[in-house]
Every structure is written in C-alpha cells, then in structure tokens.
C-alpha cells in the first residue's frame, strides 16, 4: 500500500515544519512569560492533532487530488484538446481556451472551500463577530473571489496582458471599496486575501499556470507562469467587502417616499 509507505516520512517532515513554531512558542513561554500553560496536556494533544491532521491531509492530497489535478491541467491546455473544442477558425483565439477559464474558476472555488487556513479564520470571525458573520457565508464569499481571480489570471496568461495593470486596478477597487464597506469587515477582508492560498490551492494552481504558459504561443513558462497566486490573493478582498456591502444593503430599512 503506497499510502502507508509514505506515511512515516511525511509525518516526520510535517513534524520538522511544526518544530520551529513549537520551539518559538514554548521558548517564549518558558523564558519570557514564565508562567505555566493552562491545560498543557490539552494544548499538547491539540498540537498533536494538528500534526496528524496536516499529515493525513497532505498525504491524501498527494494520493488523490494533486496527480489528477496536474494531469487535467496539462490535458486542458494541450493543443490537441484545444483544437477539438475550438469555436473560432484560423489561429487559436483567446476564446478557444474557455474550458481553461471554467476549470480555473471551478477549481478555485472548490479548493478554497476545503482550505484549512480559511476554515480557521472563518471560525474566529464567527466567534468574534458574535455570530454576525457566518462561517459558511464568509467561505463562499472568499471562494467566489478566488474563482474569479484565477479565471482572470488564466485569461491574462492566454492574452499576455501585463500583470501589473490588473493588480493595480485591483488595488484601486480595494481602496475605493474600503471607503464604502462597513468598517467592521475591512481588516477581515484584507486578511482573507492571504489565507486563501495555501495547502490545497497553490499546487493545483501552479500546475495550471505553468501548463498554460508552456503551451500558449508566445508565452514563456518562466515569465508568465507566475502571477496566478497574486490574482487569487487580491480578488477575495474585493469579494468579501462586496459580500458585506450587499448584506448591509439588504438589511437596510427601506425608505419609502410617499
């Protein structure tokens, strides 16, 4: 069983990933704070669960999702496949890559819903806001942002527009929204940009970006393969603020002019 063979090595490497964090925490706890940790046994058990959880999670992703995701990214950007589904005549147009955009959108949304770091932030936001922010609502808002971001990012790779125009426009939208969005949501929205892209999303997205940049004529894998993650971190800020603006707008008492 391949899974069980990989387990010890992966467990060890996750352990070494967590080790510096544990050393920093316990180092400061014992040398600077010098107080006993409350419920030490429970906290240690919790950390152990995190270790096991991340190991199993990565192992499962490596076994199940990543190989198939990478293969699909390669298949969808394969010129033979594009030739068979194209809708234009003559040279390949950017519209012929429509399955790539749909795939980027769907994978972005799907992986974001399963992203552990986002679940953690959503749980905290729910708790701190006294239930006003729903765990699932926030996650869906972020997922839509990532989905749109990745679709835009793949479109950019296909068309070859310079990336900074998109990013700067995104910044301007974020700044404008900051002034109109409910004040309570702004820091959370800024945070949601960073949490979306970790364990699940990055490997799949990287495969898609590189696959595209390698097969689209005139693109270089090294120059154009990067940048998808930037889109996936920018758009959730916009979608989370938009979500808050929409729910505020919906809950606003209606003023009726007689």
């Amino acid at each position: 069983m391949q899974v069980l063979q990989d387990l010890p090595a992966l467990l060890l490497s996750t352990f070494f990933d967590i080790l510096p964090i544990a050393l920093i925490i316990f180092g400061f706890q014992f040398l600077v704070i010098r107080k006993r940790i409350k419920h030490l046994k429970k906290v240690l058990m919790g950390m152990f669960y995190v270790l096991i959880g991340i190991t199993f999670f990565l192992l499962g992703l490596e076994e199940a999702l990543f190989p198939i995701g990478r293969t699909m990214a390669a298949q969808l950007t394969n010129p033979l496949f594009l030739e068979s589904v194209r809708i234009s005549v003559g040279e390949l147009q950017w519209t012929d890559y429509y399955w790539v955009y749909v795939f980027a959108f769907a994978v972005g949304a799907g992986t974001t819903i399963a992203e552990p770091a986002l679940i953690a932030v959503a749980m905290k936001a729910h708790e701190v806001s006294g239930g006003a922010i729903g765990v699932f609502g926030l996650r869906v808002a972020v997922a839509i942002g990532v989905a749109v971001g990745l679709a835009l990012g793949t479109y950019r790779i296909v068309t070859g527009f310079p990336m900074h125009y998109f990013i700067i426009s995104g910044y301007i939208i974020v700044v404008v929204q900051t002034y109109f969005a409910p004040k309570l949501i702004v820091p959370l929205a800024y945070d949601s940009g960073g949490v979306t892209t970790s364990t699940v999303t990055v490997p799949l997205v990287a495969a898609l970006g590189l696959g595209l940049a390698e097969t689209v004529p005139g693109r270089s894998a090294l120059l154009d393969g990067f940048g998808l993650i930037a889109f996936a971190s920018l758009c959730p800020m916009i979608s989370v603020m938009a979500y808050a603006q929409l729910s505020e707008f919906k809950n606003r008492p209606h003023r009726i002019h007689n």
Binding site: L76, G227, I229
Partner: protein, 244 residues
C-alpha cells in the same frame, strides 16, 4: 466519551461536505469535458478518506491547541506590558514559520532559475543557490517585520487602511523600477507565505491582543496581521530584485 465521539462524527461529516465541491468539479471535467475515467480509482478513494480525516483532525487540533495557545500568549504578553518582548515574539513567529515554508522554498528555486535565464545573475549553481537563499531570507524577514508591524498597529491603534494603502503605493511605484522578471514572483510571494499553521496562530494572537487591551475591538483591531504578512513580502521582494 460518547459526546466526543458524536463531535468527531459531526466534524467528519463537515469535512466531507467541505471536500465535495472539488470532487464534483474534477468528476465533471473528467466525465463530460475530457470524456475519460481516471485510473487508480481505488487509490483516489483512499486518498480522499485521508484528506477528510486530516481536515477533521486539523480542526479538532485548532480548537484544542493552536487557538488557545495563541490567545493565552497574547493575554500573557498584554499583562506583562512589555512591548519589546511582544514585538520580538511577533518577529520570531513570522520569521521562523516562513523560513522553513516548503512552498516558499519551491518558489525561491524557480525564481533563481528565472533570474539566471534573464541574465540577472550568473548562470552557475552557486549563484542560483545564493539568489534563492537570499530571496528566502528576504521573504522571511519581510513576514517577521510584517507581523511585528501589525502587532504595533494593534498596540498604537493605527488605522489599518492607511497602512495598507501606503503599501499599495510602494508596490505600484516599485513595479515601475524593478526588473520585469521579478514582478510576477514578487506578487506571488505575498500569497505563499501564510501557511496552514501560521494563519490560525497569528489570527489568535491578534484577536487575543485586541481583546485584552481596553478600547480595542477584536473585529476591527484583531484581524489584519495576515494582510500585512501578504503585502510586505511583495515590497521586500521587489526591493530585492532592484538591489541584486
């Protein structure tokens, strides 16, 4: 015992629900777009079971371990009243969790390949390794500075949106001066720094601090640390590209 088993089963169900969308997406593309059935179905099935178990354990561990320790340390530092140690801790947490981040190591290696191909550095193993290591330390340093800056913001009650806007302006201006090859990598580096373990810890730290300092609202002041940790690496990497 019965209660914790019940809790475990219900979070298992939650993880199953979380994973369903991506499974459906892949199944749809396999069957209807690419018109094929994936090989190794049994292996995929076993893998999925591991993913679901892993997610369940992770969330269990969050609530028992990472959240409580992050918050209790924030309270302890706030009671101790030493800003120096708090900022040192914030820096160590940011730097220490980033320097070993596997995603960052991968990106730094790719970036060194780009740089050598573009002729920014010599095309030798040694030069590429130096470049990749330099990039890693730059990003780790930037995350350390970012978390400390974010903590300082909570302590001094600075408005987050002005700080973020200053960051944006720096990114935009520096994009004009940095070599083209580094821009994509710089923009991406903001996203890869925040790992699955760092995010819950840092979030708990921010919220713990904001709730133990009077006059702070955890919702407004507690969040925002991750935002700094994803913006500052862009600035630092652009600067790295301009200097090296």
């Amino acid at each position: 015992m019965k209660r914790s088993l019940h809790l475990f089963l219900s979070s298992l169900l939650g993880s199953l629900r979380d994973l369903l969308p991506i499974v459906l997406v892949i199944a749809f593309f396999q069957l209807f777009v690419l018109e094929q059935t994936p090989d190794h179905l049994l292996q995929i099935f076993i893998g999925l079971i591991f993913v679901i178990l892993g997610l369940t354990f992770f969330i269990f561990g969050l609530e028992q371990g990472l959240f409580p320790i992050g918050e209790s340390m924030a309270h302890a530092f706030a009671n101790k009243g030493s800003a120096f140690w708090l900022l040192t801790f914030a820096f160590a947490l940011g730097f220490g969790t980033t320097i070993a981040e596997p995603a960052l190591i991968a990106v730094a290696d790719e970036a060194s390949a780009v740089a050598s191909q573009a002729g920014l550095i010599e095309n030798s193993e040694q030069a590429m390794e130096n470049y990749a290591n330099g990039l890693r330390y730059t990003v780790a340093l930037s995350v350390g500075v970012a978390i400390s800056l974010g903590v300082l913001r909570i302590l001094l009650n600075w408005p987050i949106h002005y700080m973020i806007m200053v960051g944006y302006i720096m990114v935009i201006v520096m994009t004009g001066f940095a070599p083209d090859e580094i821009i994509g990598i710089a923009y991406d580096s903001g996203g890869v720094t925040t790992s699955t373990i760092t995010v819950p810890l840092v979030t708990a730290l921010g919220i713990g601090l904001a709730s133990s300092i009077s006059g702070r609202n955890p919702m407004v002041d507690g969040f925002g640390l991750i935002a700094f940790a994803s913006l500052l690496p862009i600035v630092f990497v652009l600067a790295y590209g301009m200097i090296v």
